[in-house]
């Protein structure tokens, strides 16, 4: 039964997907005779605490059974970037497939490709990866993001293009506190200020102590999500306005925004926990009034976290913050690109490696395993649709999403997270509701692109210091250790450190993006 559904789906996909000629042939499973091919994967270990791919999780076992390829997991749950960087720099005993640091930029792809550590995958993909090609056709921005300026593909990114349609990432507020204090949902910066003051002063958690933290943050930098209240059209670092690429930290609107944040901070409305290390603790203690910011699955996660202290805890997304007389700002999707991964020069079976990636990353069967797990264990087919079992929906230890991760679902390698399974496992909860509500309403994130040699050199020369400076000054302005009188000096410094070149580079990449996706 399951097979029939799958093949129907597959056929449907193919009909919808494309009419263009696909060069790659469908490969037959298993990809290799069991026991003949082993590949080493270096990267992040499972995102489910206390669970490791090394222990042979059900989903990974099922993938091994289907593909015949055994994966040796060289995976880490901390200091990942350092470990991989050191291993790659050593240049010997490379894994077959590796994640590519540094994770906060795309520069690693250029660096390791030009060093010859990563091999080009274009021909292999064209020949052996029919499903990846289909994915490229469905998402031109994915293809744009992995095509180097020289036209080669050296790496693929973890892909959240599908799931981000239904996972808004924004600021949450305690709806139950608003109701309790008889307050309206705030939308403008002025209303926000009043609400936060009320949270601070009127003891909404009712313990008689003034211990509420009106704004808890992922880290202090995350408070830039409030920017839309000051004329910014969207809540992102980069966007385009009138065809020009704009970066937020030297925009004229930025100063007013900083002044507002500074007021909030000095009046004790924003958490002083700058790196956000205690955020979960504060939420769990029923002290957080609002939270800035995390993806929507945390709406449920935080309620659970706080449940012991207050069973009525109810986090809700707030509407986009906007200034008076301002056009409706647009919510930008979370970036669809997450950590590139590629095949190294030491890989003895590049063909099998690409087929394995194709199976996990893009095939219908692989996606089923990623999103729904293993039939019989995590889901059953009911009326032709997969339905999660109690093991997932009512797990003793985990919430549904984490339960999926605990058996190896939604893995953190070759990521391509399916959206429907995500909604299904949050069925009937507010996570599903907001997912459907925001679907189609968010704008695409500023495209991630790979740099040319000049761009990469420029970037590694300028960006680290500049980034430190911009972030540090944001924090100094907000906490008040730097006076806003020095704002002009700050802008001048940023330009002298090469900001203009960085903006020009991003703009060039944006133009390349447009030409690749054909707009």
């Amino acid at each position: 039964m399951a097979k029939r559904i799958l093949s129907t789906l597959l056929a449907l996909m193919m009909c919808l997907g494309t009419t263009g000629a696909l060069a790659a042939e469908e490969y037959s499973l298993p990809i290799a005779e069991p026991g003949t091919v082993e590949l080493t994967y270096m990267g992040s270990d499972s995102w489910c605490p206390n669970v490791s791919f090394k222990d042979g999780l059900p989903v990974q076992n099922a993938i091994e059974e289907a593909t015949g390829i055994k994966i040796n997991w060289d995976v880490y749950s901390s200091d990942l970037e350092l470990v991989i960087q050191t291993r790659l720099a050593a240049g010997v005993n490379l894994p077959d497939i590796t994640e590519i640091p540094p994770f906060d930029s795309t520069i690693g792809v250029y660096r390791y490709a030009s060093n010859g550590v990563l091999i080009p995958l274009n021909d292999l993909i064209d020949q052996y990866a029919p499903n990846i090609l289909k994915l490229f056709e469905k998402y031109p921005s994915l293809k744009a993001a992995c095509t180097s300026p020289d036209g080669n593909i050296y790496a693929l990114p973890g892909w959240w293009g599908d799931i981000n349609e239904v996972v808004p990432d924004y600021i949450m507020i305690r709806q139950d506190w608003l109701t309790k204090l008889g307050l309206e949902m705030p939308t403008t910066p002025e209303q926000w200020y009043d609400v936060l003051c009320a949270f601070r002063d009127q003891d909404p958690n009712g313990n008689g102590e003034k211990d509420e933290v009106p704004v808890v943050t992922l880290n202090l930098l995350a408070t830039k999500f409030f920017m839309t209240g000051f004329g910014f059209p969207t809540n992102a670092d980069w966007w385009t306005e009138d065809g020009k690429t704009v970066y937020y930290p030297v925009d004229s609107r930025y100063k007013d925004f900083l002044a507002w944040l500074n007021k909030l901070y000095t009046e004790g409305l924003i958490s002083t926990d700058i790196e956000g290390t205690q955020r979960q603790q504060v939420v769990a203690q029923d002290r957080a009034g609002s939270y800035c910011h995390d993806p929507s699955d945390w709406l449920a996660g935080f309620d659970t976290l706080c449940a012991e202290a207050n069973a009525d805890c109810d986090f809700e997304f707030v509407p986009m913050i906007r200034g008076e007389n301002q056009e409706e700002p647009l919510m930008q999707k979370r970036n669809s690109i997450w950590r590139y991964f590629g095949v190294t020069k030491d890989c003895k079976y590049p063909e099998e490696a690409v087929k394995w990636i194709d199976f996990c990353y893009a095939s219908e069967q692989g996606q089923m395993l990623y999103g729904y797990g293993v039939e019989g264990l995590s889901y059953e087919m009911v009326d032709g649709k997969p339905q999660f079992t109690d093991y997932i929906m009512h797990n003793d230890v985990y919430d549904p999403f984490l339960a999926l991760r605990s058996i190896g679902g939604y893995p953190c390698y070759a990521i391509n997270d399916p959206a429907q399974a995500y909604l299904d496992c949050f069925k009937g909860s507010k996570v599903e509701t907001v997912g459907n509500e925001y679907k189609g309403k968010m704008v695409e994130p500023f495209p991630t692109m790979l740099g040319t040699q000049e761009e990469s050199d420029l970037y590694s020369e300028i960006w680290p210091d500049l980034q430190t400076y911009l972030e540090e000054m944001f924090i100094n302005f907000v906490t008040g250790s730097e006076s806003l009188d020095n704002f002009d000096q700050y802008v001048e410094n940023a330009y002298s450190m090469g900001l203009e070149q960085i903006i020009a580079m991003k703009d060039a990449q944006y133009q390349r993006y447009l030409s690749v996706v054909g707009q």
Partner: protein, 317 residues
């Protein structure tokens, strides 16, 4: 011709047999030091060729020796000096180093001298043990304890609030960083560092004290005229060695303690190298910064050593 002179041959043979004799006599001692020698050879001397990375444009697949020379050769050094953050890094590194020396160095000496005056053996033992226990606590735990105690709702701030003050976010204030960093270091290490002075004091000939008592010297005079001069060579040797480490502030504790709000006073060369070299993988640049740092260290070491040699005739080489 000279080499075959009979006297010389005999002398060489003598030397050889003496060496053989010494080797076999001290073989146990040599065995004991072997791991240390191997450690230094393997982990300190062998990797040293890698400093050339500071003069190269490091390419992973070509390796350190195979990579092209940087053009110009001192490219990475000049980009370090021209970096926007260079003055701040230099300032922070110097200030923290000096503060560390100022507090970390004399306190163990004072503590050892004080401990030496304690009459009760039991009290002495307890005080000593308690003082060096923190040395065995991992740095991560120490910083964790500090963060707990000093967080805005931690014990210290609860006291501050109870007494009518406003909670201070200690770890977000650049002004507190150095005090916290140096203070916790002193707390952790002064007991441990005093052990060597206690040993030196224990080695002082008791007859000297007895003689001075006969001459009518009190406790204070004994300390000033016998104990201190006796341990002075130890103090000066350790001072020279400490000076050699002057600018070597370990990045580990810094990165545990700092955040973007305290970079202003906390960011030092080693933490900068960590961010830029390891996180951004700019190995050549980081190598240059590290090399410059070590060069300054050696310079300070030689300078201190020379001064000490000239003024009080104590030197480490």
């Amino acid at each position: 011709m000279l080499a075959n002179h009979p006297a010389r041959v005999e002398k060489r043979q003598n030397a050889l047999s003496r060496l053989g004799y010494n080797l076999s006599k001290d073989k146990h001692l040599l065995l004991i030091i072997l791991p240390t020698v191997l450690f230094y050879l393997l982990f300190c001397y062998w990797p040293m060729y890698g400093v050339v990375i500071a003069f190269k444009d490091f390419n992973i697949s070509l390796g350190i020796l195979g990579s092209d020379w940087a053009n110009p050769l001192f490219k990475h050094f000049s980009s370090m000096v021209n970096s926007y953050y260079f003055p701040r890094l230099l300032r922070n590194t110097l200030i923290i180093s000096v503060e560390q020396l100022l507090f970390n160095f004399p306190l163990p000496i004072i503590f050892a001298l004080l401990l030496n005056e304690v009459r009760s053996k039991r009290l002495k033992l307890v005080a000593q043990t308690c003082s060096y226990l923190p040395h065995f606590i991992s740095m991560v735990v120490v910083v964790g304890i500090m963060m707990d105690l000093l967080s805005t709702d931690g014990l210290v701030n609860q006291l501050v609030v109870r007494m009518g003050g406003a909670a201070i976010p200690f770890f977000n204030e650049p002004d507190y960083f150095r005090t916290l960093y140096v203070g916790s270091g002193v707390w952790q290490e002064f007991g441990w560092n005093s052990i060597i002075y206690l040993a030196a004091i224990a080695a002082v000939d008791t007859q000297q004290y007895e003689a001075s008592i006969v001459d009518g010297a009190g406790r204070w005079k004994q300390l000033w005229y016998i104990t201190l001069p006796s341990i002075a060579p130890t103090i000066i040797t350790l001072l020279i060695i400490n000076m050699g480490w002057m600018l070597n502030i370990g990045y580990e504790k810094i990165i545990l303690m700092y955040n973007r709000a305290t970079y202003e006073t906390a960011d030092v060369f080693s933490s900068y190298v960590y961010r830029k070299g390891l996180l951004d993988a700019q190995y050549s640049f980081a190598g240059a910064v590290g090399l410059a740092n070590s060069a300054v260290n050696i310079f300070i070491l030689l300078l201190t050593n020379a001064i000490s040699k000239r003024t009080c005739d104590i030197s480490i080489f």
